[in-house]
């Protein structure tokens, strides 16, 4: 059964300062978690006691200001960051779309990039071969698929990335602000595919600053602020109507 269960997850990491000629008190901290400690022993509390459960069919929207911990949380779910405290239990095959350029090589053609992206995601060559035409068709790149990736616009790159990431029907799909680059018709098409994915009892977690996107795609909304959960609302959107505050 596909599920995500986070129990009191915290992530603290040490700030590795670069040598600088600026006086320490004149350096301004950027957005992102809470900085604790001083001098050379500074730590960032990127996530603090985050707990929630998701089950098959859930579509979670992650919202919050810059540096609230949205991308960090996605990376914890994907397994890139190991939490310093708490537990993460995930059942299901996970794929992620964080950066549309990941795994894509500028000089290689779109077709070759599909192969590379598939290998990086752990697909077999047979699976890549089987899905190749579907991915190309969904991306609507036409003859561009045999041109080098560097000839693609950001929107075309997003089409290819999304088509490849969703081609093997991941049970859990994690996405970070991917959709901004696609045009309106592709966004609509992508949304339909996400609907299909969720209806096949999958889970989608989408981080975005676009309230409209969250409302149209997600069934749950988790608001983060400074690494902590500010609110976790279920069934918030047009789909069902009533917004219930669960925690």
């Amino acid at each position: 059964m596909v599920s995500i269960k986070l129990n009191n997850v915290s992530l603290v990491y040490k700030l590795h300062e670069k040598l600088t000629l600026s006086a320490p008190d004149r350096r301004v901290a950027g957005p992102g978690g809470r900085i604790e400690g001083s001098g050379r022993k500074q730590f960032v509390q990127a996530l603090d006691g985050v707990s929630f459960d998701l089950k098959a069919g859930d579509r979670l929207g992650l919202v919050g200001p810059n540096g609230a911990g949205k991308t960090t949380l996605l990376k914890v779910l994907y397994g890139i960051y190991e939490p310093t405290d708490g537990s993460v239990d995930i059942e299901g095959k996970v794929d992620a779309l964080f950066n549309i350029n990941i795994g894509f090589r500028r000089e290689a053609t779109g077709r070759r990039n599909i192969v590379l992206r598939g290998l990086i995601s752990g697909w077999t060559e047979a699976e890549i071969e089987e899905k190749m035409e579907d991915i190309i068709a969904f991306s609507e790149l036409g003859d561009f698929i045999d041109l080098p990736f560097k000839a693609y616009s950001q929107g075309m790159a997003a089409r290819l990335a999304f088509s490849a990431a969703t081609a093997l029907d991941p049970e859990i799909l994690l996405m970070d602000e991917w959709i901004g680059a696609g045009d309106a018709s592709f966004q609509e098409k992508a949304k339909r595919r996400m609907d299909e994915l969720a209806e096949k009892a999958g889970i989608i977690v989408l981080a975005s600053h676009s309230e409209a996107l969250i409302q149209s795609v997600c069934t749950k909304k988790l608001t983060l602020r400074s690494g902590r959960i500010e609110s976790f609302t279920t069934e918030p959107v047009k789909r069902v109507g009533a917004v219930a505050k669960s925690s």
Binding site: Y13, K14, H16, K18, K75, Y78, G79, I80, Y81, E82, A96, F98, N99, N101, I102, G103, R105, E107, A108, V115, L116, L119, I120, G122, E125
Partner: protein, 263 residues
């Protein structure tokens, strides 16, 4: 320590299962580096032969035949350039792979093997040039060449460990990228790449005997040049390789999950 070793072996075994990834990426790397050039990767062969020719022309000792010295320099430069490339590229490995490390769950050893294979492919062109120089210089193809092959395989065995150690060094101490680069440039003159140890000059004798890279060179060179099995050089190289692997496994096991926060 046991947990660290288990973690390292887990990372390595996952990377080995994903061998198609690093093989594909290494080939793409080589192709990208030479794309749109007329000679393509053959430039690697041209560069190597040009270097050997220049060194023989400039540094050939008086009274030594050109053919014998060509063979000496050809093998010395082959191994030294390989080691130099592996070490200098490794110190910035994790920084170069930043987008992959921050965006995928590929085991770190995938990046190690990607660089290792890339270096081996590049060295392959130099090996072709080296064999051609050896044949033209009149070195007789004989059974001791098999010891040279064993020496190359031993260097190949040590390569992933060297890459891992230098990659972690570069991640923890970014300054090491410049320190290692400078040391390698200077190190060429303290390693018997193109000079011969005559045991007369104490500095030369010290540089020959206490430099571990001497032995990495000699396990490949001595069987061909002298037709002998260099037991001492093999022993030192095996011990150095095992020591490097021990450090590499501990670093990989203990710190592989920290790298994403360091780059």
């Amino acid at each position: 320590m046991i947990a660290a070793l288990n973690g390292a072996f887990d990372d390595i075994s996952r990377a080995m299962r994903l061998h198609r990834v690093w093989i594909a990426l290494a080939h793409e790397d080589i192709g990208d580096q030479h794309r749109r050039t007329t000679l393509g990767p053959l430039w690697l062969l041209v560069n190597y032969v040009a270097f050997v020719g220049t060194f023989v022309f400039v540094f050939q000792p008086a009274g030594r035949d050109a053919a014998g010295y060509s063979a000496y320099v050809a093998i010395g430069l082959l191994v030294w350039f390989y080691l130099m490339e592996v070490m200098s590229m490794s110190v910035s490995l994790f920084q170069r792979e930043e987008s992959f490390i921050e965006g995928t769950t590929l085991p770190l050893f995938v990046y190690v093997m990607r660089l290792g294979l890339q270096s081996v492919i590049r060295a392959g062109y130099a090996i072709a040039g080296c064999v051609a120089i050896l044949v033209f210089s009149g070195s007789p193809v004989a059974t001791p060449w098999l010891w040279s092959l064993a020496g190359l395989l031993l260097i190949l065995f040590a390569t992933p460990a060297l890459i891992t150690v230098f990659a972690f060094l570069g991640a923890f101490f970014p300054d090491s990228q410049f320190i290692v680069g400078n040391l390698l440039r200077v190190g060429m003159f303290f390693t018997p790449v193109f000079w011969m140890n005559n045991s007369q000059d104490p500095i030369q004798k010290y540089a020959y005997e206490w430099n571990p890279f001497t032995y990495f060179l000699e396990i490949v060179r001595l069987p061909i040049i002298n037709g002998e099995f260099p037991a001492h050089a093999f022993t030192v190289t095996i011990l150095a390789s095992l020591f490097t692997w021990a450090i590499a496994l501990l670093l990989l096991g203990r710190y592989r999950k920290q790298i994403v926060f360091l780059i």
